[in-house]
């Protein structure tokens, strides 16, 4: 078997395995979210299905699939049906450029070189931003096509919020780009080689915090879940959705959560690298997985602890605090990088 063919086989394996693993993981993320919610609110959460209720998500999937899929009579049907997919697909595309282990170097698997990334792509970081931008469509179109006021308001809120926070997010990411001298996620992880004090969250602490906050808004999670504020908008853009279409939105939200956690760990927390060089014997994917778990816990902690902001507060945080801060961070980083070399 020649090397190109081996690479092709590896590619197919990776392209199939990675989404499947993430989907499986997401099922448990949903379970943990409910469990944590119970814990934070002094309840027990799901308990019936499987040990400690751990198979709850699978039960939910079957329930959703067997439910009637209602399409409102005056909805814009093609768009209404398309919107869940538009919300769903961009999140998966980002995984293609995400390194989950070492890339390049010596043959490491059956005498062939196995790269722990689907596509080593020199503009991977921009691809992430582009997919964030595309993800907005799912929400906005869902809101519009439902032909319901709650949905439209929810969709518009979500859209406005996401494009506002995308700016701060983009600017804070540029700091990392400048320090790494590359937009490839593989290169960015490579530049963070060493111990945990070599990771970018220390020099880029401002950028990291901004990115984290903005990502909460991108994910539409509390305290920035204005789009679905149930006291005001029923369920925002999801109001008219039911059955599996609703399930797809719900699922996409958690896939996004996993992907964004992976991006945060890649950009600021050394990606798949061990926190101390002596721990390098543990494989990279495991470290990445642990970091993702910690970040997901952080997101859940915030979600069940902090109150929702009012819409004008949300907008002024985005435009008047995060955006100027991120631009200042970018300016300082640029000056320092050009002086230090």
């Amino acid at each position: 078997m020649s090397d190109p063919i081996a690479q092709l086989i590896f590619l197919i394996v990776k392209a199939i395995l990675l989404p499947v693993l993430i989907v499986l993981f997401v099922a448990f993320v949903i379970y943990f979210e409910r469990k944590f919610a119970g814990f934070f609110q002094a309840r027990v959460g799901p308990t019936y299905l499987g040990p400690w209720g751990s198979l709850q998500s699978f039960g939910d999937i079957f329930k959703l699939m067997s439910k009637e899929d209602v399409t409102p009579a005056r909805a814009d049907k093609p768009v209404f049906k398309l919107a869940p997919y538009i919300a769903f697909i961009p999140a998966f595309l980002v995984m293609a450029v995400l390194p989950f282990g070492p890339v390049g170097g010596e043959p490491n698997l059956f005498g062939y070189r196995f790269d722990y990334v689907i596509a080593n792509f020199d503009a991977g970081l921009v691809l992430f931003l582009a997919m964030c931008a595309l993800g907005v469509y799912g929400v906005v179109l869902a809101g519009w096509s439902s032909n319901s006021n709650y949905s439209l308001l929810g969709g518009l809120r979500a859209g406005a919020q996401m494009i506002s926070y995308e700016l701060a997010m983009g600017f804070s990411v540029v700091g990392v780009m400048l320090m790494a001298g590359s937009m490839s996620l593989v290169d960015i992880v490579d530049r963070q080689a060493g111990n945990f004090w070599d990771w970018y969250f220390i020099p880029q602490i401002v950028g990291a915090v901004i990115f984290f906050i903005a990502s909460i808004a991108e994910l539409n999670r509390t305290p920035f879940d204005l789009a679905e504020a149930e006291q005001e908008l029923v369920a925002g853009h999801l109001t008219e959705y039911s059955g599996m279409r609703w399930g797809m939105f719900y699922f996409a939200e958690y896939v996004n959560l996993v992907v964004v956690s992976a991006i945060v760990s890649t950009l600021y927390l050394g990606g798949w690298r061990a926190p101390l060089e002596v721990l390098d014997f543990i494989p990279g994917p495991i470290w990445l997985f642990l970091k993702i778990c910690v970040l997901i816990f952080l997101y859940m902690w915030i979600r069940w602890t902090i109150f929702r902001y009012r819409y004008n507060q949300l907008m002024s945080i985005g435009w008047k605090v995060l955006l100027p801060l991120s631009i200042a961070n970018l300016a300082v980083t640029a000056v320092v990088v050009s002086l230090v070399g």
């Binding site: 814009d76 093609p78 768009v79 398309l82 792509f121 020199d122 503009a123 921009v126 691809l127 931003l129 582009a130 997919m131 964030c132 931008a133 595309l134 907005v136 469509y137 906005v140 179109l141 519009w144 439209l152 969709g155 518009l156 859209g159 406005a160 494009i163 995308e166 937009m183 490839s184």
Partner: protein, 195 residues
């Protein structure tokens, strides 16, 4: 060969999307087809290994700009053009005939043209040696193309100033906004006046 087939597929889809954009009566459908066209153009950029350009195409056109567009359309609630009265009905046929004529002319002329290769000796291998397509692109942008790049930033400044001039409401002493300039008479006759 594969590339050629993919190129044909994406081009056909892009053109189809473009045609869909201008023929849909529903504005939002039209805009979505435009996004579809942009994505296909991005795919063609991918095929030519201009990865950065491809991603930027998605980020800027399909993402940012079109979201704003969709927003405006939704807020204006322009559901369809169907209710709009069609004016210049007869001109339509003349316009169609002329368009076809121009199209034929362009196809005939451009079919006989040999385009100069503008690669400047860049191949996938040399690109990798130079540090990847993104780096080559950046070098070109910040060296040879520096001035247009900077002027483009001034264009954006003008666009911002213009947007503020055209839409910002003025505050009255009480803090409420009003749609009229101080002292401008809001009578219809005044609005029709010569300026």
């Amino acid at each position: 060969m594969t590339e050629k087939i993919l190129f044909i597929v994406f081009s056909v889809l892009a053109v189809a999307g473009g045609l869909g954009t201008i023929t849909r009566k529903n504005v939002v459908h039209g805009l979505l087809l435009l996004v579809f066209t942009f994505l296909n153009v991005a795919a063609i950029f991918f095929l030519t290994q201009a990865y950065f350009l491809a991603v930027i195409q998605i980020l800027v056109y399909a993402g940012a700009i079109m979201v704003l567009f969709v927003f405006v359309i939704m807020l204006l609630n322009l559901r369809t053009f169907e209710q709009e009265e069609q004016t210049h009905r007869r001109q339509r046929w003349i316009a169609a005939a002329l368009s076809v004529l121009v199209l034929v002319e362009f196809v005939v002329v451009l079919a006989g043209v040999t385009f100069t290769s503008v690669r400047g000796g860049l191949t996938p291998e040399t690109m990798t040696d130079l540090g990847g397509g993104t780096k080559v692109f950046g070098d070109a942008l910040f060296n040879n193309m520096l001035l247009p790049f900077e002027v483009a930033s001034v264009v954006l400044l003008v666009a911002m100033v213009g947007a503020i001039v055209l839409v910002k409401r003025e505050k009255t002493a009480g803090g409420a906004t009003r749609a009229w300039e101080p002292g401008e008479r809001p009578t219809p006759e005044a609005l029709e006046e010569e300026v």
